[in-house]
């Protein structure tokens, strides 16, 4: 966007919303919304504390384990569903059900099955992230140019060759799109897991701050979380743009 002939950098509108936040905070409308400056000061003061570092590492661990498993399970499953009609018929209804299901309601079941520890949190994260990755990988494979498959076949590609050298790369733009949305959903999953299953990580901090009405601490942690999710998502969007040039010409 341009104002008075100046090209504004991306997301300049955040400044406007930040100013609005500051004004609302200073007016003291509600104790839920402290001024932004106070939140940022709090953020600065807690960011190096052992409690924060521990919460960050616990959350990051659960998040990265969950996302890694989702990718490792989701991409091959999606590609196989796109290639194989039978597998697709068997799995697609479940993928669609779980994609739209209120997964939070399933968390108590996971606790019974997998206990109250990190394992259940990771599985919750996977449940939030994996379905959209499967669905997008499947969609990527289904729109693949048939003659690429025939080409590989005619030059003697083994099924494994075709999988790694054709299907994966042809579906990559959709796969990356799926991973990006999956990662955003995984952030939700990991926090819900930490709040409902065992009070650790950022979930514990949220619980602690909100029950003690430490609103500026609460917002500070939330900003960190949004920032992390946003950064990862933008990085994946960047990768998507890198491969977008061939998305139209497969």
């Amino acid at each position: 966007m341009k104002i008075f002939g100046y090209q504004l950098p991306g997301m300049s509108s955040l400044i406007l919303w930040g100013v609005l936040w500051e004004i609302v905070g200073r007016m003291g409308v509600t104790f839920f919304v402290p001024p932004l400056s106070e939140v940022l000061q709090t953020l600065y003061s807690i960011i190096g504390t052992p409690a924060f570092v521990k919460a960050l590492s616990e959350t990051a661990y659960a998040f990265f384990m969950g996302v890694t498993f989702s990718i490792v399970i989701g991409i091959p499953t999606g590609i196989l569903m796109g290639k194989n009609r039978l597998l697709d018929e068997l799995l697609l209804p479940w993928v669609n059900i779980f994609l739209s299901a209120p997964l939070t309601a399933l968390v108590p079941v996971l606790m019974v099955l997998f206990g109250f520890g990190m394992k259940s949190i990771i599985i919750t994260t996977i449940l939030f992230a994996v379905w959209i990755i499967i669905l997008n990988s499947r969609a990527g494979v289904m729109q693949i140019n048939r003659s690429l498959v025939e080409m590989a076949h005619s030059f003697g590609a083994s099924p494994m060759d075709a999988f790694i050298k054709i299907y994966f790369w042809a579906a990559l733009p959709e796969i990356l799109g799926g991973v990006r949305i999956g990662v955003i959903r995984a952030v939700k999953g990991v926090i819900i897991g930490q709040l409902l299953i065992s009070i650790v990580g950022f979930g514990a901090l949220f619980e602690l701050y909100s029950s003690n009405f430490l609103m500026s601490h609460f917002w500070a942690v939330l900003i960190v979380l949004f920032g992390l999710a946003f950064t990862i998502s933008e990085f994946l969007a960047y990768l998507e743009r890198r491969v977008a040039y061939y998305a139209a010409s497969r």
Binding site: N145, F155, A157, K165, S249, R250
Partner: protein, 266 residues
């Protein structure tokens, strides 16, 4: 079928060796008979065109020879061996080029060799040679989307040549490039047939193109597909590429083929 035996009897002399032969090939898609009892021989070192109206099953026949489709009955022999699937004795050139959009020209050209497990440095040496041969020197590290349609098909051709198959199967290879590029391709194809001792099977829907490039033209008629006629132009091939299009035999054959196909074109 009378025209089948007629077709088989038309080889000129016993000195022509048969590279590819199809014997009584039938193929159905559901209730639709795509090919019925089709027999055809392809002489070694020559270019045979499959020509016919759309829906006459010429691409189906080509894919059956390639081993990409299996016939419902009948069999295909390539150099005396029965075809059961794709093999290193045949290479395919695709109508839409079928290049990997995420791979450079050199990797695309070397892709057939890559799938055969040839070491990277060796296959890239071979690929470089064929990239030069098809006139794409300097574009080794370009990507397909940076090339014109004609250049892309040169990549597809170089890929098919680099695996050094005896039989080259070409599925309307020039139909997606512009008219001028196509003429250049046709001239290049003639010298390719002369210089490489390969057997070419060439599917086209252009009568002029078929007559221009072919040693043998098989006219296929549709529903169900069968060989109605085999034409072997002989008089103008040696007269040079510039004189073919005004040779009277060339013009006569074009007219004759159009006369027999006219009634099948909707």
């Amino acid at each position: 079928m009378p025209q089948t035996s007629n077709a088989l009897a038309q080889h000129d002399g016993p000195n022509v060796e048969i590279s590819v032969s199809t014997r009584n090939v039938s193929k159905n898609y559901g209730n639709v008979e795509a090919l019925k009892d089709l027999s055809l021989d392809f002489p070694r070192g020559q270019l045979t065109s499959l020509l016919g109206p759309s829906g006459c099953g010429k691409t189906t026949l080509l894919k059956i020879i390639a081993g990409l489709l299996s016939p419902d009955s009948g069999e295909i022999e390539v150099n005396g061996k029965t075809v059961t699937g794709p093999g290193p004795d045949r290479a395919f050139v695709f109508q839409d080029f079928a290049l990997l959009p995420w791979a450079s020209v050199i990797r695309n050209v070397a892709f057939g060799l890559e799938l055969r497990g040839v070491a990277k440095s060796e296959r890239e040496d071979i690929a470089r040679k064929y990239i030069l041969d098809v006139g794409l020197g300097g574009f080794e590290n370009s990507y397909p989307h940076e090339l014109s349609g004609g250049m892309r098909q040169r990549v597809g051709l170089a890929r098919a040549l680099s695996v050094d198959a005896q039989v080259l199967l070409m599925d309307e290879p020039f139909s997606a490039v512009d008219e001028q590029t196509r003429r250049k391709f046709q001239e290049d194809l003639l010298s390719l047939v002369q210089n490489e001792s390969k057997t070419f099977v060439f599917v086209t829907h252009s009568i002029e193109e078929a007559v221009y490039v072919s040693d043998q033209i098989a006219i296929l008629l549709p529903r169900p597909s069968r060989v109605s006629e085999i034409i072997r132009p002989s008089g103008f091939r040696h007269k040079g590429i510039d004189n073919i299009r005004r040779d009277s035999e060339y013009l006569d054959i074009v007219d004759r083929i159009w006369a027999s196909l006219r009634s099948y074109v909707e």
